[in-house]
């Protein structure tokens, strides 16, 4: 089938400005039989052999699916700003205005000077005036430098503007005006000694400010791990025998970190070829089965967020224990209906305890000869819930 599909190139439109399928057009041709259609008819007849392939070769491949996006829709969603500043809206904001917005909406997470390491990694710090000259942040070469801040890494001003605009503040993204995004961006750059205190950042001067970013020359597009046909940057050889003279352990977890990730026994299955190590105790000296006494198997913990186990409702218990197979709400099936049960025990003060006993041990005689099976596994709380539910007429 597939071999017969003829794809008409998308730019060769047989019936421009028309939404009907080729087949509809073909029928119209047959009806009117205008000469201009004759050649086309032969083509369509040929295509007709492959049936549904016709629809696939039509200019509009999926009629009825999707619709044109309106300019307003595109404008609302297409907010990205590229490194070449395409997409940047008009507007401006001063460092002073940025400080106001910062103190109201940003400082609580990022700190007064963008230096906080409490909630997120620091935005400001680690850059120098020399970096602004060179466009490379010297501290990025230092192995002993404790943290990479946003301004140390930032190579495109557009990335900062775009991110604040689309994702900040943290709990109210997209709530800042374009002017305030300019202002906050200016204030951050001021905190990093990149812009003076009286600066006003705008769409008109973003490109100039880009040329002051301390790490504007620090990013390299690395294509071997981007291209479909690229290659990795490391070459290993698949040696099979006598590959290394001496095996040496160069790194391992220190003993004091044994339980840093909790009790690993509780993070593994309770059966199988292995168990999770009981990290509440020091490392053992012998395999599990070889030890004099096996550790108690960790009880499966209640997953975080699970409610504590509650007694199921009477209705749920009735379903679970198949009561509904023999008892209905109002009509007698194999056993009496819940309505009948409720009526019979309406004036019995001990009805609940009697009913609990009956459900538990089962029996016959009260309503007929067909016995009710016992339910020995039900807890007293479950028996009580089920009995009370039945005595309310199954409600």
């Amino acid at each position: 089938m597939g071999a017969f599909i003829i794809n008409v190139p998308a730019n060769v439109s047989l019936f421009p400005r028309r939404r009907e399928s080729n087949f509809v057009e073909f029928r119209k041709c047959l009806q009117t039989w205008i000469p201009a259609c004759a050649g086309m008819t032969m083509l369509v007849l040929f295509l007709g052999i492959v049936g549904n392939a016709l629809a696939q070769s039509a200019p509009q491949k999926f009629p009825g699916v999707g619709r044109a996006a309106t300019p307003a829709e595109v404008a609302k969603w297409d907010i990205d700003v590229r490194p070449d500043l395409k997409g940047l809206p008009k507007g401006s904001g001063s460092v002073a205005r940025g400080q106001q917005v910062w103190e109201a909406k940003c400082e609580s997470c990022h700190g007064a000077f963008g230096e906080s390491n409490e909630v997120f990694t620091p935005i400001v710090g680690g850059t120098t005036k020399a970096d602004i000259e060179s466009g490379r942040v010297a501290n990025l070469r230092r192995a002993d430098f404790p943290q990479r801040t946003t301004l140390m890494k930032l190579a495109h001003l557009s990335s900062l503007w775009d991110y604040i605009n689309r994702a900040m503040p943290w709990n109210a993204p997209k709530s800042l005006s374009a002017d305030d995004v300019y202002a906050v961006t200016a204030y951050i750059l001021h905190l990093g000694d990149i812009l003076p205190a009286d600066f006003v950042l705008s769409d008109a001067n973003m490109a100039q400010v880009q040329n002051r970013l301390p790490n504007r020359n620090g990013l390299q597009k690395y294509t071997p791990k981007w291209d479909v046909r690229g290659k990795g940057d490391v070459t290993n050889v698949a040696c099979m025998q006598n590959c290394k003279q001496e095996m040496k352990i160069t790194s391992n977890l220190p003993d004091h970190a044994r339980d840093a990730h909790g009790n690993l026994a509780e993070q593994h299955r309770l059966i199988g070829p292995v168990r999770g190590a009981d990290t509440t105790k020091p490392a053992p000296t012998a395999p599990l089965l070889a030890r004099a006494a096996l550790p108690a198997v960790a009880v499966a913990p209640t997953p975080r967020g699970d409610p504590p186990p509650a007694v199921p409702s009477g209705a749920a218990l009735a379903r679970k224990h198949n009561c509904t197979a023999c008892h209905a709400q109002a009509s007698k099936l194999v056993g009496p209906s819940y309505a009948e049960v409720a009526a019979k025990y309406a004036n019995d003060a001990n009805a609940v305890s009697k009913m609990m006993e009956k459900i538990k041990i089962g029996g016959s005689g009260a309503w007929g000869v067909i016995p009710m099976p016992p339910h020995p596994t039900m807890t007293d709380a479950e028996l009580k819930a089920l009995a009370e539910w039945a005595l309310r007429g199954g409600k």
Partner: protein, 457 residues
Amino acid sequence: MPTKYPESTVPAQTGRVLKAPEHFLSQAQIAEVQAGRRDFLRGVFASALAGASATAGVAAAQAAGVSGFKGDPNILELPEHTTGLGSPVAALGYGTPSKWEKNLQRRESPGLTRVSAASVSFCPLQGLFGIITPNGLHFERHHQGWWDIDPSKHRFMINGLVRNPKVYTMDDLMRLPSVSRMHFIECGANTGMEWGNVAVPTVQYTHGMLSCCEFTGVPLSVLLEDCGFDKVKGKYILAEGSDGSSMTRTISMNRALDDCIVAYAMNGEMLRPENGYPLRLVAPGLQGVSWVKWLRRIEVGDQPYGSKDEVLHYIDLMPDGTHRQYTSIQECKSVITTPSGGQTLLDKGFYNVSGLAWSGRGKIKRVDVSFDGGQNWRTAKLETPVLTKCLTRFNISFVWDGSPCVLQSRAIDDTGYVQPKINQLRAVRGTRSIYHNNAIQSWKLAASGEVSNVQVY
């Protein structure tokens, strides 16, 4: 060719009930057993040792030469589930795992992140079988929290360098021709904590930003064609999410047309909310951050977009202080999941060593396993299916003689690329990077049977 462990070297007791050590039962306890007090046996073995060690209990009784031993109480005393009535159908409208499996959970790594709405939960690889990740255990990575979006209100837009910018509803997308393909997804930061040294104890935390599903959706190429994308100037696409972060990622047009899917389903059901319900991008072979969740828009452009997560994060810090950008492809990698760090072997004897291998460039061609820290290697058996840009399960037999050893796996993909050692990666990229660590993982098996995370290169 997969190699098989020689039969003759498998110890004779394999498969039999294991012997228990001496002194497991006291003389007085043995006397009680001999007096026919089976209750005592049940008490000791069922409660103190719990069900998992019943084998050892029986073995102990046998080893102790108990004349009154009739057999395993788990056989001799019929359990409730054999003698009672079970639960009816549809008792659970949507089934859940057994209550005995609750230890296998997605977990955060303590201290890794500070805000749980911009964090990661790791998949418990140590307990999974085959290659498919159960949907409820799929790893999570959110940048600004997750949402359960009303699918009837979700919209997907394609704009930019296209002839016809279009909007699609979920109804529209689900009417279109669909494909279902199995692919792995791995976060670019998977194993990132281990660049400098060993940092975390188990495979859940070393490799658990990894999952694999059968995804169903519309090929992105079909949708781009439907909008009439510019085949000359359209070199890149931008994928954008609809969550608060509105995550944006640049993908090359070659990739987009190759095998990317605008997906609405995983493993036979709709996407889980944590995984982008109702729509996400599936970008096979690329790091997980490119698989934009809650996908709302694709823009076609002539330049890369330099988004925050392409300029400040998911970049590789090199020794000279520069950052490599757009290093999106997840290179060939593998890890042994059983036995793995934080586990304890039951005893000496036979084990099926099992693990996972994958490559963002294609299929897995071969996996070798070393039991001596990389000096000698044997080729493991690859289990089918072996699919492109998909997890591949490997297995190999191992008889542990009780002496300490170091286990490793090394994968080779169909481009011929061999999974590297950590020192080879460090020679190129240094030790301060976070992303794209695909080094050979070493697990040390101690004489105690405990397995721990080590580095040997």
